[in-house]
Symmetry: C2
Subunit: 277 residues, 2 copies
């Protein structure tokens, strides 16, 4: 049986002979908007809330943009979006009649789309049920004029519900960066996200442990807040590469609150080569 | 028109004369299981992930239990549940044919129900869409043999999606404790939860600012991680009482990872009187 669907290329049943693509029941990936050309899609996920997904998303995007790549951020955390505030943007996206235009960041021209840009007030709640939330993420993929992008970074919400599921099934994600913190409690929840990605057959690029200790600004002592780093163990346990261990940095928190994350200098340049493959 | 529905007692249209309770379209609260007698329901919510909702839930429950009250915890964070691990419990709930029996905590006999207790492995992901997630929370209210409880504390997930919406509309919540951290970024997301509670007409008990600075174990200096405390300002801005400002405490993280949160001694005794009214 001829296989016309490009998604068949990555299907586990491709060579088994058991597949008839005309009756395929696997969820189909959404095609790109014909006016977009997005080369790679990288999602940042955790399962656990508050471990720094949005910071990692932003720092990956800033690192890539400083290296000269064309970068976009799709903020898929519809009910708890942090990206616009971190970049200090609040312009409302307009439509050209066909698609919604993303907002460009102030320094590096990173293209950003977030539900918070569409609200009258940044703190208005989005009280939507799951199917509508997931629909918004689909629209951010299909109906936004991303144009030419080398990388689209997707900031996932916490949990393993509608949005991560729809994103994994509908968006052509090339790889996922998993973010955790050095608490066994966080690792347990993060393992749920890792298992979900494996079940949905989305490749995992590796693990970043965030909030791994802090340096006292008074005496310079480095101490742990959430316990010893469990990064090596967590990476081994899940059979995924450890990409980076990041300390808590009050400077980063301050820049995020000021909307100046593009000014942060401790970037993630050393992991960006891993996003290419 | 006679008003038979007990929910009418708290309805804003009760005295306006415009209400006909037979055509009422307001969501109806779920009745208690006839074998339960739960006196007060308190929810702990944030909107933002990772600010310590589950820690606050647990510390409120431990404080009340140590004061002699009968306490239960309904873990409504279905896809990212932390409660069983914090209390070090992993027994699987069994049914008596009519209802599911909650698991009792080790020291204080707090009754706990969490989806993680129903999984084969604690790190198995719950890949469910919103209506199913919300249905689980309803079942944890209606189909669990809570028995006699002075307080049921509900640990909400991040966001303002299906679960918080269903919990606010279906559970007879007497009051909400809002948890935030001292970041303007967190406060912005937390305001969404506060606005949601006001829109759904669920009373807010007050605000707890968590992660408000840390004490260096080497030199004893107290310094801020996420910026200066914004607790007073956040409470005023939202016109809700400030209940407590809690520092980050590595001891608490360690006890949570060990499943020994019941051994923590810095309790929330001073706020429990506010939960009575």
């Amino acid at each position: 049986m001829a296989k016309q669907n490009p998604d068949c290329q990555s299907c586990s049943e491709k060579d088994s002979g058991s597949c008839d693509s005309t009756t395929c029941s696997k969820p189909q990936k959404l095609p790109q908007n014909p006016s977009n050309n997005i080369k790679r899609v990288v999602a940042v996920m955790s399962g656990k809330g508050g471990v720094g997904k949005s910071s990692v998303t932003s720092l990956v995007a800033v690192s890539l943009a400083k290296q000269g790549y064309k970068v976009g951020i799709l903020d898929a955390d519809i009910t708890g979006p942090s990206i616009p505030k971190m970049f200090g943007i609040s312009d409302r996206p307009v439509s050209d009649g066909k698609a919604l235009m993303p907002i460009w960041s102030k320094k590096l021209n990173i293209k950003i789309m977030s539900l918070n840009l569409l609200l009258d007030n940044e703190d208005d709640p989005v009280i939507w049920r799951g199917p509508i939330l997931a629909g918004a993420v689909k629209q951010f993929w299909s109906d936004v004029a991303w144009g030419n992008l080398d990388y689209l970074i997707v900031d996932m919400p916490p949990g393993t519900g509608d949005i991560p599921l729809t994103a994994m099934q509908s968006l052509p994600i090339d790889g996922i960066i998993i973010v955790t913190s050095p608490q066994e409690l966080a690792n347990m929840v993060v393992r749920k996200a890792i298992k979900m990605a494996k079940m949905e057959e989305v490749p995992i690029i590796g693990l970043i442990e965030n909030m791994s200790g802090i340096v006292c600004p008074h005496c310079g002592d480095h101490f742990n807040i959430f316990g010893e780093s469990t990064a090596q163990k967590a990476a081994q346990q899940n059979a995924i590469p450890l990409l980076k261990v990041l300390p808590l940095d009050p400077k980063l928190s301050a820049l995020c609150d000021q909307g100046d994350i593009e000014k942060y200098e401790q970037l993630l340049d050393d992991i960006t080569p891993l996003l290419k493959n």
